[in-house]
Amino acid sequence: MIEFSLADILSFLLLATRWTLALSAIAFLGGGIGALLLLLLRYARPRVGGRLMHLYVELFQGTPLLLQLFLIFFGLPKLGLDVSPLLAATIALTLYATAFLAEIWRGCVDAIPRGQWDASASLGMTFVQQMRDVILPQALKIAIPPTVGFLVQLVKSTALASIVGFHELTKAGQVINNATFQPFITYSIVALIYFAICYPLTHWSRRLERRLSPTGHR
């Protein structure tokens, strides 16, 4: 039997952490683009776009991410598309992130007082100008803290990719555990690595939020 030192375990887990980070980054980018497209549709064509976005968000926030992942992983092959665990996880997390980011950003745009739209419209601005020069600069500022907060949620969500067999941090933990039979140590380290990624983001998000609040504290 091969003996594993703590350093072996740690380096194995850290190598897999790269995939957790990569998956988070791709899904965050993809989700951001998806959310922008949804929002564009919503504000440009409020009737159709609004309803579509509502439906989309309801669907993805009303079902478990695990099942979204399963449906893509097992559903796409039914359509004749072969998907690797990585591709399935990327698609699922991107669609999931799209729903949350769209919802967060919509809240931020809607938080801009009606008067800002009225004032910019009365100055003769077009919709695109209103968005670009008046609404978005204000919305963006309040959007950053919850967006960073969602990033934490997304990093944690990538753990589900292990269930379809993608070799990220949690999967690596399972592999190591099967080899070492030291679940307490292994999952403690796995948890700590996630914590080391997520906590700074949480902290940052909170600081940004505090800086925004008019009273200066929460």
Partner: protein, 222 residues
């Protein structure tokens, strides 16, 4: 389309789906009950507790909120028994769900407590009420009313996240789909039906809670 989509292959398993849904709802109800009770104490500690107790609550909240639920579940189910703490999968699921939910509801509850104006506490004290009664009958009801929607959505989130307890073989709704697809190889259909059931449960839970909320907190809008 390359594959066929045949729900009739699933229809015979209705009883199993209902049973799985019952387990998922039951787990959620237990976690929600314990979670809310504990978070009342946790939030009060975070607000008024001794320095070390506050630090303890903060550490707990941060640790749980910054790690994945799946890893927490594995840690409890696989990690703790190696220290001699053996438990069934069901117990592990309940503990993991409660611990996870509580970390979020403590923060929500704390925000609720902070949203009650200080004059309320002063008025209660000025009437000679014991501080514990001031908390229980003056501050807490208002705090809960103020954050009720957030509490409800957190419970719904917990229900949806609980799908991963199927990974330690708890017979929840998702696990039912695992079982069915292993029998008839209708993998996609099984997961599809289960996803629809989750969606229905989430929507119903939100609606019911909203209705209950308007009745519970009627007439007191400020």
């Amino acid at each position: 389309m390359g594959g066929d989509f045949d729900l009739s292959a699933i229809a015979g398993y209705l009883g199993m789906f209902l049973q799985g849904a019952g387990v998922t709802l039951g787990l959620t109800a237990i976690a929600a009950t314990f979670g809310l009770l504990i978070s009342i104490g946790g939030a009060a500690t975070a607000r008024w507790g001794m320095r070390w107790a506050r630090a303890l609550v903060t550490a707990y909240v941060e640790l749980i909120r910054n790690t994945p639920f799946l890893v927490q579940l594995f840690f409890i189910f696989f990690g703790l028994p190696s220290l001699g703490l053996k438990m069934t999968a069901m117990t592990a699921a309940i503990i993991a769900m409660t611990i996870n939910l509580t970390a979020y509801t403590i923060e929500i509850m704390r925000a609720g407590i902070e949203s009650v104006p200080p004059g309320q506490r002063e008025a209660g004290l000025a009437l000679g009420l014991h501080p514990i009664w001031v908390f229980l009958s003056v501050i807490l009801p208002q705090a809960i009313a103020n954050v009720y929607p957030a509490l409800v959505s957190q419970i719904v989130i917990t229900m949806l996240e609980s799908a991963v307890v199927s990974q330690i073989a708890v017979m929840d709704l998702t696990h039912v789909a695992d079982l069915i697809q292993s029998r008839n190889y209708r993998t996609f259909e099984a997961y599809f039906v289960v996803a629809v059931i989750y969606l229905a449960m989430a929507i119903c839970l939100r609606r019911l809670a909203a209705k209950a909320g308007t009745r519970l907190f009627a007439g007191r809008a400020r």
